[in-house]
Subunit: 298 residues, 2 copies
């Protein structure tokens, strides 16, 4: 966990060079066999797609449009993921995933080793003229907390097939302007990611359990393992949905976007000025924030 | 080998976005335990330094100044390279390597798995106002082929401690202007890298064996294994020196740079218009190009 924290510390870093007119962002993300996917079960197309889309989802989290991708691949010498044909298909799958957003694959590196497949994707993105990236650090007391889509149970397949919310993030930024106070993508689950946003913003939050958008896959997981579906929605992670915080007077605008668009937006809680997070039950009872969430350890 | 070719195909790709005033380049490179270094022998500082400098050497090869780095690390769960302290030291080592060129570490990603350490470094670089990257594809018949430094035997230590030729590449570009026809960094050895440059430029080359700058480490390797030192200079790889091709009338300029600078520049041959590469011996006899070179396979 400590090591994961180290990554989070640098994750919000953004580049601000004086020689470049428009604001450029850089992102890097890795996808490892038997951690983020399993080559014994998942085909090369899904694997390449996930590797790219994880990185693009990070771009979406800052309302940044990705413009260029690089892929670095450590290929196993033998077994699943070995061989030239696999490498070629992987590059094509990555290229196709970028092409969905007109984002070109501009470079790469391959090596062969006697370990499992490791894919690293780096993305460069642009904010567009004069626009600033949306950070995690702008949430203010009184703001409303939203999520896109529905959460939980992504392990049943959505962790491979999700669509990064690039277009939605652009729409939010354009429609809400400065009223979009903070945003990030949900990769480790709301239970872990909302505390990160709150810490970055030096605020607390209340989330209403009954308002959580629970994905049918979370219900399926619940039927399998007996854990509440809500806990799956909070903790499973790999939702790759947007978590964002807006000025409350922008809510009508959000209702319009939600009703006219393909992705449902749901107000799940509010930002409070005290630090600490609370889960509120149907009767208004306040509970401590659940310590749950996916950890990337094989 | 086929897979390595795939990387070379994309390696020269450069980014040309219309929204950005200055030309931006992106590079990605990986460094794997027991392929590019060995954690059983090499400390974290050398490993981080090599991971960054390999990528920066790629920037040097195009006369590009690196401005931002990202590091992605797959950390082993146990054994060499595991634990938070190692991760932190690795980030510091990477940061220090970038700082030599005022190149900031702006982001990163970490994950833990049950495989060996894999480090991926992505760099963004800038060409400066109006400048174009120096590619592999501009060599012309009659040009002179140069290398910086001395070659061979880097496995004895220089493969970890080399200095990427960022500053030299800038100096060459400024001093030679359009007369600097083609350039790349020598990562796989002259025997493999010169044919790549010739293929990209659709030319051939003659190299004079007696003019090859042979590093004392190549002599040491030769004393150990009985192979000629010249073969080590041609094939060992990981020299991270510059291979470059210039208009022959620029040679006096190069002599000046070589004599006033820290790095010796050596004319080793010439570009010919016929395709094919030849090694010329001390008596003028022409030999076929040696099929030798380091292959990154563990």
């Amino acid at each position: 966990m400590a090591v994961v924290r180290l990554a989070a510390e640098t994750q919000n870093a953004k580049l601000n060079t004086q020689n470049i007119e428009s604001r450029v962002l850089l992102k890097i993300d890795q996808c490892l066999d038997r951690v983020h996917f399993d080559l014994r079960e998942h085909g090369v197309e899904l694997v390449g797609r996930k590797a790219v889309n994880r990185c693009l989802s990070d771009c979406a989290g800052m309302a940044c449009w990705p413009t260029a991708l690089m892929i670095s691949v450590a290929l196993p010498k033998e077994g699943p993921g070995s061989g030239e044909a696999f490498a070629r298909e992987l590059f094509l799958a990555c290229q196709a995933a970028g092409a969905v957003f007109d984002c070109a694959l501009v470079g790469g590196d391959t090596a062969i080793w006697d370990q499992r497949l490791a894919i690293t994707v780096a993305a460069m993105g642009e904010m567009g003229e004069g626009a600033e990236p949306v950070l995690r650090s702008g949430a203010k007391a009184g703001d409303t907390v939203f999520v896109s889509g529905a959460l939980g149970g992504s392990i049943l397949g959505r962790h491979l097939t999700f669509e990064p919310r690039i277009r939605l993030a652009q729409e939010l930024r354009k429609a809400l302007g400065d009223g979009l106070h903070a945003m990030m993508d949900l990769s480790d689950g709301l239970a872990q990611d909302l505390p990160r946003m709150c810490a970055a913003s030096a605020v607390g939050a209340k989330v209403y359990a009954e308002r959580l958008p629970i994905h049918p896959d979370a219900e399926k997981m619940s039927a399998k393992d007996g854990l509440p579906a809500g806990l799956h929605a909070l903790g499973d992670g790999e939702d790759y949905e947007l978590l964002f915080v807006v000025e409350s007077q922008k809510i009508p605008e959000l209702i319009r976007i939600s009703e006219s668009g393909e992705v449902r937006l749901k107000a799940i809680g509010e930002i409070i000025d005290r630090s600490g997070l609370h889960l509120v039950d149907g009767r208004g009872g306040q509970h401590s924030w659940p310590q749950t969430g996916w950890e990337y350890e094989s």
